[in-house]
C-alpha cells in the first residue's frame, strides 16, 4: 500500500521547473512518486488547487518556486509566501494534516536540492500513509 502514494508538485516555470530539469540532465535519480504541474509563477498557485489535489487523490503536495527576490515577475513569490502563511494557519484550524504539504524555494541551479526535497517529502508521506482521512469526507453525507 505504501508504494501507492501520490505526491503532486505545483512548481513555477522559471526556477523550480528549470531546477527539476537540471536534476534530470545531471542524472540525479529521485522518486517517481511525484507528479509535477507547471505554473507560470507561485503567485498563480491558488490554495484551492491544493484542496482539489487532496480531494482527487494526492497524499502529499509540494509547492515550490523561485527564492525570495528571484521571482521572474518580481513579487509573485512574496505574495505566495503570505498566502501560505495564512493558508497553513487556516488548515491547522480545520485539522488538515499540514505535514503533507511541503513548501520550498528551488532555483534553476538547485537540481540536487530538488531531488532532496522530493525524496524527503515522498519518504515522509509514505510514513504518513495515504491521505484517506480527507478523501473519505467525500463519502460522508451531511446532513
Amino acid at each position: 500500500m505504501e508504494n501507492n502514494i501520490k505526491v503532486v508538485a505545483f512548481v513555477c516555470n522559471w526556477c523550480t521547473y528549470a531546477g527539476a530539469d537540471l536534476t534530470g540532465t545531471s542524472r540525479i535519480k529521485y522518486s517517481s512518486d511525484v507528479k509535477i504541474v507547471r505554473f507560470p509563477c507561485t503567485g498563480r498557485i491558488d490554495f484551492m488547487l491544493l484542496m482539489k489535489a487532496f480531494a482527487e487523490g494526492a497524499d502529499g503536495i509540494i509547492v515550490s518556486g523561485c527564492h525570495p527576490n528571484d521571482c521572474h515577475y518580481t513579487s509573485g513569490n512574496f505574495h505566495a509566501r503570505r498566502r501560505w502563511i495564512v493558508f497553513k494557519s487556516v488548515l491547522e484550524t480545520f485539522g488538515i494534516d499540514t505535514r503533507r504539504i511541503q513548501f520550498s524555494w528551488v532555483s534553476a541551479a538547485e537540481g540536487a536540492k530538488w531531488a532532496e526535497i522530493v525524496n524527503t517529502t515522498v519518504e515522509r508521506i509514505k510514513e504518513l500513509g495515504p491521505y484517506t482521512e480527507y478523501r473519505e469526507l467525500a463519502g460522508v453525507e451531511a446532513p
Binding site: E56, E141, A142, P143
Partner: protein, 343 residues
C-alpha cells in the same frame, strides 16, 4: 382508512421505539446538537429529544435529500456505462417524533414531485417512510399552523399520531395503512381507547388568517410596493428555503471527476440572486423584492392553483431561522390587513 384510536403508556411507547431500533430499522428522530434540535438517525431511544418546540431543519430530506444522486456514469474508451438510481437500496425509515406541521409539510412535496411527471426516486423514498408524529403541547411565537389549515393535533400526513395525555398515557391515532401495519406488529403495546377528547391536551394557537383569503389577497397585491417594503432587509440567503418543509426548488448539477461522475439534484432557493439569472446576464427576478414576492406567491397562490395545496404548513421555521428577522406570519398579516387602494 378510517382513523382508529388507542391508548399507549409512556413506557410502552418507549418499548415501541426500542423494538424498532432492536429490529434494525432505520429510525430518525429529533436529537439535540449545538443547542439546536435536528432530525438525525438514532441508535438508542435515549437520544430522542422531546422538550423542544420545533427542530431547526424540517424532515423533508428523508424524501428529498439536500443532494440526490440521480444517476452515475462512467466512460471507458468509447463505452459509457450508466448506473441508475438504486431503488432497492432505499431503506425503510421511521420518522419518530415529528410534529403535525412536519407531516403536513410532505403534502406540498408530494404534489410537486407528482405534478407533471411522477418522480420515481422521491416516491420511492416516500413509500419507505413511516411517520410517527407527536401532537404539540407547547408552541412559540413563530408557530402559525392553525392559520394554514393545520393544527397542533392535526393528523394529515402522519401515519400514526401520538398525543401526550399526561399521567403516563398517550392517545394513539392510527391514520394510514402504514400506521396500521406498524400497529399490527406491536399490537400488545396498545390498549383500548380511553375515549378522552385529545383537544384538551393540545396547545392553543389562534387562527389569524385563512389560506383562501391569503390567496385572494396576494394575487390582488401582485403589483404592490409591499413586497419591496417587506424584503428590504432580506439578504438573499437560503436559510428560509432550506429549513422549510415545503420548499422544493432544486437545481440539477453534475459532479464530474475525470471520466466518471454523477448527476445530482440539489436543494436551491428562489431567494438566491442566481436562481433565475440567465446566461445572457438578464435576470427576470432582478431584485430581492421580486424574489420575495415569488416566494410568497408560489406558496400561497401558484401551488394552491396547480397542486391544490398551500406550500406552507405554518411550522414557523423560516421565521426562527432568518438572520434578518423576516417573519412570514407577520408579513402575511400585514398583507391581509391591506386595503385595495393602498397598492
Amino acid at each position: 382508512m378510517q382513523t382508529e384510536n388507542y391508548t399507549i403508556t409512556d413506557s410502552n411507547l418507549q418499548q415501541l421505539l426500542q423494538a424498532l431500533l432492536s429490529s434494525g430499522q432505520k429510525v430518525v428522530a429529533p436529537v439535540r446538537a449545538n443547542n439546536k434540535v435536528l432530525f438525525k438517525e438514532i441508535k438508542s431511544a435515549s437520544e430522542v429529544c422531546s422538550d423542544h418546540v420545533q427542530t431547526t431543519l424540517s424532515a423533508k430530506h428523508l424524501a428529498f435529500p439536500r443532494t440526490e444522486v440521480l444517476l452515475q456514469y462512467k466512460k471507458t474508451g468509447k463505452e459509457v456505462t450508466i448506473n441508475d438510481f438504486p431503488f432497492d437500496a432505499v431503506p425503510q425509515t421511521f420518522l419518530w417524533g415529528s410534529r403535525p406541521c412536519d407531516a403536513g409539510g410532505f403534502a406540498p412535496l408530494d404534489g410537486i414531485f407528482n405534478w407533471d411527471s411522477k418522480d420515481a426516486i422521491y416516491n420511492k423514498r416516500r413509500e419507505q417512510l413511516t411517520i410517527i408524529s407527536f401532537s404539540c403541547t407547547r408552541h412559540d411565537d413563530a408557530c402559525f399552523c392553525t392559520s394554514m389549515g393545520g393544527g397542533p393535533g392535526n393528523t394529515a400526513g402522519s401515519d400514526m399520531l401520538i398525543t401526550p395525555a399526561g399521567n403516563g398515557t398517550n392517545i394513539a391515532e392510527i391514520i394510514t395503512d402504514k400506521g396500521k401495519a406498524l400497529f399490527e406488529n406491536y399490537t400488545s403495546l396498545f390498549e383500548e381507547a380511553m375515549g378522552a377528547d385529545k383537544e384538551q391536551y393540545l396547545t392553543k394557537i389562534d387562527k389569524v388568517f385563512d389560506t383562501a383569503e391569503i390567496k385572494a389577497k396576494v394575487e390582488a397585491f401582485f403589483e404592490s410596493k409591499v413586497w419591496k417594503e417587506q424584503s428590504a432587509r432580506c439578504m438573499g440567503c437560503g436559510a428560509c428555503a432550506y429549513v422549510c418543509p415545503a420548499c422544493a426548488c432544486f437545481d440539477i448539477q453534475d459532479d464530474k471527476h475525470g471520466s466518471k461522475g454523477s448527476r445530482l439534484r440539489c436543494w436551491d432557493s428562489c431567494g438566491f440572486q442566481l436562481f433565475t439569472l440567465h446566461t445572457s446576464g438578464h435576470n427576470p427576478r432582478e431584485t430581492q423584492a421580486r424574489r420575495w414576492r415569488q416566494r410568497v406567491m408560489h406558496k400561497f397562490s401558484y401551488m394552491p392553483d396547480r397542486i391544490n395545496v398551500v406550500g406552507c404548513s405554518g411550522c414557523g421555521r423560516c421565521s426562527r431561522a432568518c438572520p434578518a428577522d423576516m417573519n412570514l406570519a407577520e408579513h402575511l398579516e400585514v398583507i391581509m390587513k391591506m386595503e385595495a387602494e393602498k397598492i
